[in-house]
């Protein structure tokens, strides 16, 4: 009886391992860049345009002769918005696929799960996630391109102060970006003289926040609502705000920097303010704006190829890719250490999120000027006045 068990055990093990060994072996000429993104799950909203952008521009670079004369090969895995999967795919990229760099980590959670691995493997990692804790404290091999949650909170608070708002209700998402955003927000209240009169949370997959908003609505002295989250949650929040008839100004974070948000929230999005990259108002930027050419080109290319509107997230992928490409060109090699040093010496790189100036102490390279204060007017992004 057990003879069969042994036989089947061995056979199954061999089969399982064999199926993995069929993972193809790549030619030595290509430059293998690894990526793990959240293309499915609650963060698909962010990961999907990121993947599309990477694929689109890598194809473009390859058509124009490649990087240092070699074609770039993108090895990509979908972590399904789960940090544990991100961890195992990062391992696979580093140890099995032998990539020279990783551009990815859609969510803060996924990024943090991969950081110990890239630090140990000593491989450059450019993250596409928002939390400031990714680059603070500065880690040797970890970079990021999106503006931080702290910057978003600062931008929002300074705008609120300008409008004489001081009593604010915070409604944040419990997942990564929202949670770290909340932490940063709480830490900044003193500096800007803001009082948080309410502090509610919602889950990334919540379809109804009327309960939390009802509590916020009945808070005395309420002057504004600040929503910190990414994906479809904040859109539901807007709809519920409209339903409950909450009339105070509403601010969002750059986690909703996508046309999707306006589409989902519909008329409820009107009047919302948020700090966002110039990318979202590409056509409205003055001609002498340093970002004008980059964002207009990106917008057109993305619209043409994918027939959908651009989002800040796809823009981050563009920034990460070209930041890396620029560093490799300057280092004239894909050697990990040389590239790392080249990344740290990047100055004046014009991306979709702003103009980057990195250093060994600043692995992001953006300052508050990268953020424009935008407002949703007539169903489209516009400058807030």
């Amino acid at each position: 009886m057990l003879k069969k068990s042994i036989f089947s055990l061995t056979r199954c093990t061999v089969l399982a391992l064999a199926s993995l060994a069929t993972l193809p072996t790549w030619a030595q000429q290509t430059i293998k860049i690894g990526s793990f993104l959240s293309v499915t799950g609650p963060a698909a909203y962010l990961g999907d345009p990121e993947l599309k952008t990477l694929q689109m521009y890598i194809e473009k670079i390859n058509k124009e002769g490649g990087l240092l004369g070699r074609p770039i090969e993108l090895v990509f895995y979908d972590d399904g918005s789960e940090a544990s999967k991100a961890n195992s795919f990062a391992k696979r990229l580093i140890e099995n696929d032998q990539v020279v760099a990783i551009l990815g980590g859609t969510t803060t959670g996924a990024t943090m799960a991969a950081i110990p691995l890239v630090e140990k493997a000593e491989i450059p990692f450019i993250s596409l996630a928002g939390a400031v804790s990714i680059i603070e404290p500065v880690r040797k091999w970890v970079f990021k391109v999106p503006p931080t949650d702290r910057m978003a909170a600062e931008r929002v608070f300074s705008d609120m102060k300008k409008r004489g708002i001081s009593k604010v209700a915070l409604l944040s998402e419990t997942a990564g970006f929202g949670a770290s955003g909340r932490k940063e927000t709480l830490a900044l209240t003193q500096k800007y003289g803001i009082e948080l009169v309410a502090d509610e949370t919602f889950g990334p997959k919540d379809t109804d926040v009327t309960v939390q908003l009802t509590k916020i609505k009945s808070t005395p002295g309420l002057q504004a609502v600040f929503v910190f989250g990414a994906g479809q949650g904040p859109a539901v929040v807007m709809k519920n705000i409209q339903q409950l008839g909450i009339k105070v100004p509403v601010y969002q974070s750059h986690g909703v920097a996508s046309e999707e948000f306006i589409k989902l929230a519909g008329s409820a999005a009107e009047g919302v303010r948020l700090p966002a990259a110039g990318l979202l108002v590409a056509d409205k930027l003055p001609a002498n704006d340093p970002q004008k050419k980059v964002v207009v080109d990106y917008t057109k290319a993305f619209n043409d190829q994918w027939k959908t509107d651009v989002s800040g997230f796809g823009g981050h992928a563009y920034d990460a890719l070209y930041l890396y490409v620029g560093a490799v060109k300057r280092a004239n090699s894909v050697d990990k250490d040389k590239v790392r040093l080249a990344l740290e010496s990047t100055k004046g790189f014009v991306g979709t999120a702003g103009v980057f100036n990195l250093s060994d102490k600043d692995h992001l390279g953006l300052d508050l000027s990268a953020f424009r204060m935008l407002e949703v007017k007539k169903g489209d992004w516009a400058f807030a006045d």
């Binding site: 293309v39 799950g41 949370t201 109804d208 309960v211 009802t214 339903q243």
Partner: protein
């Protein structure tokens, strides 16, 4: 101030509770006919919403959209029964559970591939001007949800109590062999139960989408909570399913409002553990006897 807050929570709870009630009814229907716990029930709800979005994006009028978005999931339900449940008649319950889980993955995966990973909404059936009642606001769509659910429940009651087919279904759930012996085509009843269950779920999905939006993965939590509601009410009791669904929705809203919004999703499960400890057969489950 406090009463309007209470009312607001009540409205949210009843609205989402109606969806849970429809899901729970679906679970109960299938369970009664086949003893299978259909973990793909949530996906039927998702299909209703997603298909409705897809068809309305084609520009077709609402009645057509709704019809298709209910009929197609019903078809999927029939396929599920034919391809996955029938071949393994008599298998262990846990095997059937895994099959339905596999089916839910297939359905979810196919929607993900063909309809995309985005989130979508539907325009509300009769506008989105909130109605003010006692200081709380109610969306017109909520009235649709609760109203249609109520109609469905009445229709089902009528079906089971007054029509021959309905009585045949009840007979099958009481004793399959006896039903077969009096000439009831048990196979057809099984197919019908899956189709009806899917249709119910899909209807719930369509109704709720204008309020809560839909995407390829909304089925998981909805299905789970529908299951909780069904068990709460007593597996196999239609009335229990409806009461269970509404109760779960309302208590979830109150729990989130008065205790902690972070644990909103956990409320139904805490509730059920509580109830099961004191009433092991659920609210309307009745006494059970085991054949020894």
């Amino acid at each position: 101030m406090h009463f309007s807050q209470f009312l607001q929570f009540l409205f949210s709870g009843l609205t989402v509770g109606s969806t849970y009630a429809l899901a729970a009814l679906g679970f109960t229907l299938i369970y009664n006919a086949s003893q299978v716990i259909n973990f793909a029930q949530g996906e039927f709800i998702m299909l209703g919403g997603m298909l409705a979005v897809y068809f309305s994006l084609q520009g077709w009028p609402l009645p057509v959209v709704m019809l298709l978005a209910i009929a197609l999931p019903a078809l999927v339900g029939i396929l599920l029964e034919k391809l996955a449940i029938e071949p393994v008649k008599g298998a262990e319950p846990i095997t059937l559970i895994i099959i339905t889980i596999g089916a839910s993955l297939v359905i979810r995966g196919l929607v993900q591939v063909f309809l995309g990973k985005g989130t979508f909404g539907l325009p509300p059936f009769s506008g989105d001007q909130p109605i003010e009642i006692g200081g709380a606001t109610l969306l017109p769509q909520s009235l649709w949800v609760m109203g249609v659910t109520g109609l469905v429940v009445v229709a089902l009651w009528f079906f089971f109590a007054k029509t021959l087919l309905g009585k045949a279904m009840l007979a099958t759930s009481f004793n399959r062999m006896a039903a077969q012996m009096v000439g009831i085509n048990v196979q057809w009843i099984l197919l019908l139960s899956f189709a009806m269950s899917a249709a119910l779920g899909a209807l719930g999905g369509i109704l709720i989408t204008p309020i809560t939006l839909t995407s390829y993965d909304v089925g998981v939590m909805l299905g789970l909570k529908g299951f909780v509601a069904a068990v709460l009410g007593g597996m196999g009791s239609g009335l229990g399913a409806v009461v269970g669904g509404l109760l779960v929705g309302v208590l979830e809203a109150f729990g989130a409002g008065y205790i902690s919004s972070a644990y909103k999703d956990a409320m139904p499960f805490v509730l059920i553990l509580f109830i099961l400890f004191f009433m092991p057969r659920g609210l309307f489950g009745g006494q059970a006897t085991d054949r020894v």
